[in-house]
Structure formats: structure tokens, C-alpha cells
């Protein structure tokens, strides 16, 4: 039993919040933020898991999170470029 860990609960709540945001928010930038909140919840869960070893933190989940952060930021940066392009396309349509 991992027991009652507030950070594990926070991780789960972050995933739920992000999911709700993804469904209810119409603005693409906010939807990107929502997905990132989900991701950060998952990362937090992994880091909580890494603390279970007796001889120091488990480096495997840490490496997973680092990889995950880089992937999430790369994808989000690309997503932001798409958000800007979409806004510009919409402006040109309005003119």
C-alpha cells in the first residue's frame, strides 16, 4: 500500500481537471493548457512512485518524466504555432 499521499491525490485531481478543461474549453490555447495539466498530473504521479525505493529515488520514472516533459513541450510549442496561424487565417478571412 502506498498509503494516503497528498501528492498522489493532487496528481489524480490534476488529471481530472485537465480532462474537464479539455472537454469544456473551446479556445485552442486553453485546450493546450488543459492537456498540459493532464500531463503534469501524470508526471507528478510518476515522481510520487519514484520515492518508494529504500535506497534513494528510482531514476527510471525520473527519466520517463524528463522525456515526457521534452515531448510535451515540443508538441505544445508546435501547437502554439498552429494557434497563431489559425488566428491569422481567421483575421484574413474577416478582412
Amino acid at each position: 500500500m502506498m498509503g494516503l499521499d497528498v501528492y498522489a491525490i493532487a496528481a489524480a485531481v490534476l488529471v481530472g481537471l485537465g480532462f474537464h478543461g479539455l472537454i469544456t474549453q473551446p479556445h485552442p490555447l486553453k485546450r493546450l493548457l488543459a492537456v498540459n495539466v493532464v500531463g503534469n498530473g501524470v508526471f507528478l504521479a510518476l515522481i510520487v512512485l519514484a520515492r518508494r525505493l529504500p535506497d534513494g529515488p528510482d531514476p527510471i520514472p525520473h527519466a520517463m518524466v524528463l522525456t515526457g516533459i521534452v515531448i510535451a513541450v515540443s508538441a505544445t510549442a508546435f501547437g502554439l504555432a498552429l494557434v497563431r496561424r489559425q488566428a491569422r487565417d481567421a483575421e484574413e478571412r474577416d478582412d
Partner: protein, 312 residues
């Protein structure tokens, strides 16, 4: 478990909730960056200093700059209040209920997990004296699971190419409309901080083998120096990348793949290095990766293939 942890966890949830719920886009972004910084603190608290650095530098830092820049570039009608949900109230309630179930199930699942883990992690800590790098996370990233790291740098390259194809360069949009460069503070900031960031970044890369830090954290700090120079109009964009820039962008991946493939016939495994050379190769990989990562992150910000220096 103490009050500090309980408050931090609560604050994380509150920040995320406000970030997703406030209608004003700017405040939403600021809240997200604060959320990222608190997350970095949390990870330092949870024995993950490497990740705290990465989250602060990449998650809150680079992503924060990109978010705020994008907000500026969106143009006035689109940057203000975001439309509230167009979903009917019933569906919103359904979504909230579904999210609550998801969160509850995940919390319960995490709670049920065994209190000790026996497996790859223990093995990694036991095997640690063997590889050339002393830092456990670096050993996993550059040795045990170096294949993941290699593939992840390819993700970065794809995001850069994708950003070019989106043809919405952020730096150009910013410099065409705003006045940051003309405020008297900017040049001072730049002269003061750009060298500091360069030195810090280089230190983080170098130190990564022995202490928290590494190619990603260091690369992100180096990229921040570049972003500062770009905002201060010392760096501009160009329509096409010269060969040197293209080479530096993929240098890390090339060295990584090259070392793996060239040594494969002798070692009988991809990315297995002879013991004498392992340290040298991993350092070479780490340094070249840092350069490529720094440039990639900078180009994700500028948004066009080329860079040019501006004298002034």
C-alpha cells in the same frame, strides 16, 4: 506528510483549476506559468532536483515565453476573454462527473499500488557504479535507456520543422508590433543576463554527469539566452537556414546515431560503448545534444528556419 505538503498539493490543484477556469486568457497563461514554477518546487521537495530544474527551465521557462509571446501575437480581438463553454449545461455536468470519476479512480489506483517497488529501478541503482556517469538519472538517460533519449531528440526536430510549416513566426510578429526593444531596460537586461544565462547553461550541461542538470536543462537555459538576445534585437530571423545552422540543429542526433551505428559491429549491440571510451562518448553526446536542444528551443521561439545576428 505534514502541513507544508498538504498546502502545496492544495495550491497546485487550485492554480490549475483557476488557470483553466478564468475567462481572461492572459491571466490564464500567467497562472499556468506560476503553476509550473510551483510544480518545480514540488519536484525538488520530492527528491527530483533534475526534474525541478527541467520543469523550471523548459516547462515554466521556455513554454512560458512561448505562451506569453503567442498571446501578444494573437491580435487584440482574440487575446482578451475566451468564450465560455458552448456546451449545454447538461453536458458540462456530465463532463465534470466523468472527470471526478477519472480523478477518483486514479487516486484510488495510486493508493492501491504496493509500497515498495522491486524491479528496473533497484537494478539501475545497483548497476550504477558501472556506467561512466555517476548521476542515476543521467545514467538512465544516456546509457540504460539511451534509445528513448535519442528518439525524443528526434521529436524536438519534428516540432521545429512543423513550426516552420505553420508559417506563423513568433519573433517577427512580436517585433513588428511591440516596443520591448525600445524600453531602456531591455538592453541593460540583455547585457546583464545573456552572459549569465550562457555561463549557467554551459555549467548545467557540464555538471549534468555528476550533479543535477544535463543536456536538456542546460540547453533550455542556453536557449533562454538566445531568446533574450532575440527580444533585444541582437538576433533576427531569416527565411532559410544556412548549412552550419542546419548541422548544429541535428548534431546531437547525428553524433548519437553515428556512435551507435559505427560501434555496433564491434559491440554487437546498438549504443553499447567499449568501457574505455564510454565516458568520452557519453560526454560528447551530452555536449552536442545540448547545442542541438538549445538551438531547437530557440527556433521554436523565433519560428523561422534561419537566424542572423544584428549588430548595433
Amino acid at each position: 506528510m505534514n502541513l507544508f505538503d498538504a498546502l502545496t498539493a492544495l495550491l497546485l490543484v487550485l492554480l490549475a483549476w483557476r488557470c483553466l477556469i478564468v475567462p481572461d486568457l492572459f491571466r490564464s497563461i500567467v497562472l499556468f506559468v506560476v503553476f509550473g514554477l510551483l510544480l518545480a518546487l514540488t519536484w525538488a521537495r520530492l527528491d527530483a532536483p533534475d526534474l525541478a530544474l527541467a520543469e523550471a527551465a523548459i516547462g515554466a521557462g521556455v513554454l512560458g515565453v512561448l505562451l506569453l509571446g503567442t498571446w501578444r501575437a494573437l491580435g487584440s480581438p482574440r487575446r482578451g476573454e475566451t468564450p465560455s463553454s458552448s456546451l449545454p449545461a447538461g453536458l458540462r455536468v456530465l463532463s465534470a462527473a466523468g472527470s471526478a470519476v477519472l480523478a477518483g479512480a486514479l487516486a484510488y489506483g495510486l493508493h492501491l499500488l504496493p509500497g515498495t517497488g522491486d524491479g528496473a529501478g533497484t537494478l539501475a541503482l545497483e548497476t550504477l557504479p558501472l556506467p561512466a556517469t555517476g548521476q542515476p538519472v543521467t545514467a538512465v538517460l544516456l546509457d540504460f535507456r539511451s534509445y528513448d533519449t535519442l528518439l525524443e531528440t528526434a521529436v524536438l526536430l519534428m516540432a521545429v520543422v512543423g513550426t516552420w510549416l505553420a508559417r506563423s513566426p513568433l519573433l517577427d510578429a512580436l517585433s513588428s508590433e511591440d516596443a520591448t526593444a525600445h524600453t531602456p531596460v531591455m538592453p541593460v537586461l540583455m547585457r546583464l543576463f545573456a552572459p549569465v544565462l550562457l555561463v549557467t547553461g554551459a555549467y548545467l550541461v557540464w555538471a549534468g554527469a555528476y550533479t543535477p542538470g544535463g543536456a536538456f536543462q542546460g540547453g533550455a537555459v542556453l536557449a533562454a539566452a538566445g531568446v533574450l538576445l532575440a527580444l533585444g534585437r541582437r538576433l533576427g530571423t531569416a527565411p532559410d537556414a544556412g548549412w552550419l545552422l542546419r548541422l548544429l540543429l541535428v548534431l546531437g542526433v547525428l553524433v548519437f546515431i553515428g556512435a551507435g551505428l559505427l560501434l555496433m559491429p564491434a559491440q554487437n549491440a546498438f549504443m553499447a560503448y567499449p568501457e574505455r571510451w564510454a565516458g568520452l562518448i557519453m560526454h560528447l553526446v551530452e555536449y552536442t545534444l545540448a547545442v542541438s536542444i538549445a538551438l531547437s528551443l530557440l527556433l521554436l521561439f523565433t519560428g523561422r528556419p534561419g537566424l542572423r545576428g544584428i549588430s548595433g
